[in-house]
Structures are given as C-alpha cells and as structure tokens.
Symmetry: C2
DNA sequence: CGGATTGTTGAGATGCCTCAAGTAACGTGG
DNA sequence: CCACGTTACTTGAGGCATCTCAACAATCCG
C-alpha cells in the first residue's frame, strides 16, 4: 500500500488555501477522496485544484457541534482525525443516532437533498475536518470525471450503508457487524484489525443499533464469555474474526 | 402545476433514440428528472440531449426481473408506469425487501458504488421504464450543472429514505408512515391523496417494514376499526390523514 | 473525597413473532 | 359456469427476544 512518490511535490505548489499542517499526506492516504487523488495520476491539475479547495478546520473538542439540524448545507467535510456522531432529536427529546464517522469518511451527503442538515453532528473526541465547499467541489467534479465518479460512488455507498442498518437482525448479528465495521475500516487503512478503542458510549452504540443499552452490555458480556472478543471499558480486542464474520454475515449481505 | 407550453416543441426535434410513444410528456411531468428538465428552461440543448439519451424499455409483466443481484451496473432507470420491488435473498433463501418504486422514481443508485446491483428488482404489475446509460448521463451531467445537481439530490434523497426505515419504530408508526408515503407520492403528482391501490402483497409490505405478515394484517384491521383507513383487499382509502400523520410523525422526522 | 456519569446485572413486562388453523379471492380446467 | 386447487389474507393462542425498571458497581473529575 505504498504511495507513489511523484505526487509528493504537489504539496509544494502554491495554493489559494494552503494546507496548514505537516501530516496532510498521511491524512490523504486514508481519506475518502484519496482514490480520486491517487489513482488518477493523469489529472494532476485537478488534483491540485482539489488541494486548493480544501479548508482544514478544527480542532473540535468532545461534545462540540460540527453541524446542527436545520443548518444550511454548503459544504461536505471529511474526518481527518477523531470520531463523529450524527443524530436527530425527536419531538419527545429522544436521540436517534444515525451513524458514526471515522477518519477518512465524509459527512454531509444526506444534507444535499434539501440543502439543510437533517441531523446534528457532534465530535466524540478531538476532531479535525477537511471542509470542501459543495458548490466548488461540484464545479470541480464537472471538469474532472474521476472526481465526479468518486462523489457518485461515495453517495451510493451511503445508501447501501443506511440500508444495512435497516434490515431486521438480531442483537447478536447487529453487534458483530458493528464491531467488524471498525475492524474493516481500520485494517483497510493500515491499522490493526483486531484492536481498537471505541469513542462512543454504550448508550450511543445501543441507540445506533436500535437496542437497549442493557442489551448491548449483555451481548458484549456473552461475546466475551464465548471467547469472541475481549472488552475493557472502551478497549476492544477481536479474538475470533471468523466467528464474528459468520455471525455478522446476514447483516453484511448474504 | 401547469407546465410551460414552450418546452413542448422539443418533442419534435430529431433524436438519436427517438421517444417511442405519445405520452412522454405526461410521463416527464411526474419523473424524477422533471425538475432538471422543466425548471432549467435556460439550457434547452442539455434538455434535448437528455431526451436523446433515454431509452424506453418494457413493458415488463408482473414477476419479471428488471435487474438481478450481482448483475453489472451500467444504467439507471426511472419508472414510467407500474410498481417495482427491490429485494435481496439471504443465505437461507429468505427475501429482504429493500423498497418499492412508484412512477417517477429512479432505480439503481445503490448499484453505483461497486458497479453491480446489490439487489434484485422485479415488476409487481405491468412496468415501463426509462433507461439512462450511466456513463452517458454522467457525461451529460458534467456539462449541465442542473442535471449534476439533480443527480446529487436524488442520491442524497435515497440516503435519507434508507435511514428512515432504519429507525426503531413501532408497527403502528411504520404502517402509518408507509401508507402516507403513497399518499404524498401520489398527491405530489396530481393524483388522489386519499385513495390508491397497493401493488404489493401483505407479505411484501410486512417484509419491507420488518414486521410479520400477521402483524400487518392486525394493524390494518385496528386502523380500520379506529376509523383511520378503509381497506378492501389492496384498495386503500385514508380516512383521517391528520391522525395518520400524527402517528407517523416519529418516522417522518420530528 | 463526593457527586456525576457510565456501565453492569437481575427480574419482570411486553410487543411482536411463530405456529396453526381457517377464510376469502383467484385462476384453471372440466 | 362451477368444482377445485392455489395463493393471499385473516385470526387466535402461546412463546421469545428485547425492553423497562431498578439497583448496584466502576470510573471519572473536580
């Protein structure tokens, strides 16, 4: 998974919105736009434009709102570091967690439709974002077919993700799929597929999986008793990936 | 909701893939691309290109497959007439209904991501489609910002739709939202908001709502006893829209 | 150290599912 | 047009997965 050296010099080109820290390269290698950046070496002008377009914002501290429900939509944002939670609050004041975003994932695709955010988005720990003005990135996409295609793919991916959660699955299946989601995300980005730290509370997990918090606790304990995982607070170690995959199989398509 | 007369003459312009029947105009007024067509009178060249792009296919009879899971994706399709069901089949052979598509809705957005259909798509009654080659419509979208924006909006809308179903709601809430979905769809297109015919079986409804078929029956009966609806086979009449809206409110965002 | 938050565990309640039987519509062939 | 089988739908009784309620333990934080 080594990156072609020849894209490095681009960092040195003058930019309207110059990147403001040193680990952008590292970041870009895990970002959702990376394939549009890296794979399309033939269109360096467009890649440069994308770099000029990005605004690095943050840091946000845990609990800070990145976006609020109802807010006007004018930019998407990729998570650079940290973890983010999207949720709505219903008439009775109860939270409904829509999803979590890890580094490299893009926030805001569900806001395009009516140009307003349909949910709140809050930092769960210290979060840095890359912000892309949506009109600007759309205009760039019109000139760069690889970028347009990548945007369509990412939007399409979100449809599939949302549909996954909608299936009717048991608590065990949901939990296994949830844990494996992190494993897959991290291992695809060069981190451990076995060990990771959850940034969110049991309550948030339960809410996201449409379970009671108590059920999440019980399933976690049973998984541990069965030797599937080892859990300590929010530290998770996956001990038996094959069995977890088998459990999650109905969720992750059959 | 009257349409500008001045777009009519476009039907007379020679076309590579000439439209093959007389009610295209009627159709286009209910189609998901209609706003990209109608609202953007300033870009008639692009509108013309979109017309040339479309292939009218069908009719398909009830039970015929329009797409099959795993099939290579190369086109999206708008429903012109009829009703369509999308579903997967899990390892144990059980169906999982992902959604229904009514006239004007677009099929295939969830297939972009990995260029293959993640689900089967089957006609529930006699169905006619408008097919748009995805590479072609993408290329056109790159030249026509209104079309690009419309595609982004439609994709984004599908994300929101999928997330709706994913919430944890009671059988009553789901059923009310399901029925109101038809009401809203039809009334937005100039048909009755109160009376319509369901094209799908109770089993399909139940499967889609993640309920047992028996539960759907029972909820329907109770709704009828409470004077909310009048149901006869697949004929539905909504008698008390306000109370149904109130019931469905948690589902249709709070 | 004390209060607040977060997570765990048990006991009982419940909404929905499963199973099983029965009824109604539909199509088919006689 | 009617008997028949088939499919779709309805209804009831009982079971189970998950929720709710309540108490408690652990951790965090000032």
């Amino acid at each position: 998974m080594s990156l072609p050296k020849d894209i490095m010099p681009l960092r040195a080109v003058p930019c309207l919105f110059p990147a403001d820290d040193a680990d952008d390269f590292q970041f870009c290698s895990t970002c959702a736009f990376s394939s549009a950046c890296r794979d399309q070496g033939y269109d360096k002008a467009a890649l440069h434009e994308l770099e000029c377009l990005v605004e690095h914002i943050g840091p946000f501290e845990a609990g800070e709102y990145l976006f609020r429900e109802g807010e006007t939509f004018n930019a998407i944002a990729a998570v650079r570091t940290g973890t983010v939670k999207a949720f709505t609050v219903d008439a009775a004041g109860r939270e409904q967690v829509l999803g979590f975003f890890l580094p490299g994932e893009v926030i805001g695709f569900n806001a395009i439709h009516d140009a307003r955010f349909p949910c709140n988005v809050v930092a769960l720990d210290t979060v840095m974002l890359c912000r892309f003005s949506f009109p600007s990135i759309s205009a760039l996409a019109a000139r760069t077919s690889a970028l347009q295609a990548q945007l369509f793919r990412l939007l399409s991916q979100d449809i599939k993700k949302a549909a996954l959660l909608a299936g009717d699955f048991s608590a065990d299946e949901r939990m296994a799929a949830f844990l494996l989601g992190f494993s897959h995300h991290y291992s695809a980005r060069g981190y451990s597929a076995h060990r990771f730290t959850l940034a969110m509370s049991r309550t948030d997990i339960a809410n996201y999986l449409r379970l009671a918090a108590e059920t999440v606790s019980r399933v976690m304990r049973r998984f541990q008793e069965d030797g599937l995982v080892k859990v300590n607070r929010r530290e998770v170690e996956l001990l038996d990936l094959p069995r977890l995959e088998a459990l999650a199989q109905p969720v992750l398509r059959g």
